[in-house]
Symmetry: C2
Amino acid sequence: MSAFANDETAAIEAVAVAYLTAFVREDVDTVLDAYAEDGVLMGPGLLPVEGKGALAMAYPAVFAAVDFNVKYTIKETVQISEDWGYVRSTTEGTETIKATGDVTPVTYAELFLIRKSAGSWKIARYCTTKTGPA
Amino acid sequence: MSAFANDETAAIEAVAVAYLTAFVREDVDTVLDAYAEDGVLMGPGLLPVEGKGALAMAYPAVFAAVDFNVKYTIKETVQISEDWGYVRSTTEGTETIKATGDVTPVTYAELFLIRKSAGSWKIARYCTTKTGPA
C-alpha cells in the first residue's frame, strides 16, 4: 500500500526480512549489511548501539551469549515517503543461554525504520522489545 | 534539522515529551491523547497493543502494577516528510513493583514514529525496550 510514484514496499520489507533471517542464523555480515552507516539498535539488555562500528562489536557479543531460535511474522510494511518506510514484526520461539544451556520461550516485537540512501534501503533505526514471558 | 517547507521538528518532539512526562505521572488521559487512533505500543512484558481502545485498557494495568520514576533524554528528533517524523529517547531511573515495594534501577530506550493527521502530530507506532539492568 503506497501513494508514491515508486511503490517500494517490497524492497522495504525485504530489508527487515534479510535482517530477521540473518539474525537467527547468527550471520553477522548480513545483519550488518542491513544497517545504514549511522544505524542504531535499541534492544533488551544493551544500551543503544549507534553506528556500524559499534554494531559490529555488539552483534558478535549477543550471538556469543544467546542462541535465538525464533520465527518472525511481518505485521505491516508501510512506505512513508520516497526515502523512508517502516516495518513492524513480531518474533516467537525460544532462546538458549549458551553458557548454561537454559532454554526459555520468548516473544519479541520489532519496529524497523528504514531509509533509502544512495539507492539502497537500509535500517536507520531499529527497536526490539521482549514482549514475553511477561 | 529539516528540509521541509514547514519545519515541524518542535511539534514532533513535543508529542514525545508530552507522552514521556505524562507516563511518569501516570496520567492516562494525556498518554492516550498523544496516540493516533490506530497507534501501536510495543513494550516489555506485553504483546503489541494496537489501537486506542486497547491502549486505554493497557496503560491503567501498567500503572496499577509499576511505579515508574524515570527521567528522559531526547537523543534525536527528525522530520521525515511533511507528515512523518521520529523521536529517539532514553529514560533512566527506578521502577517500583507496587505489590511488593521492590525498587529496581532501570534504563529504557524509546523509538517514537509520529504522524501528522488532521493537523495534529500523534504517535503512530512506539517501541520501548528495557536496556538495563542487562
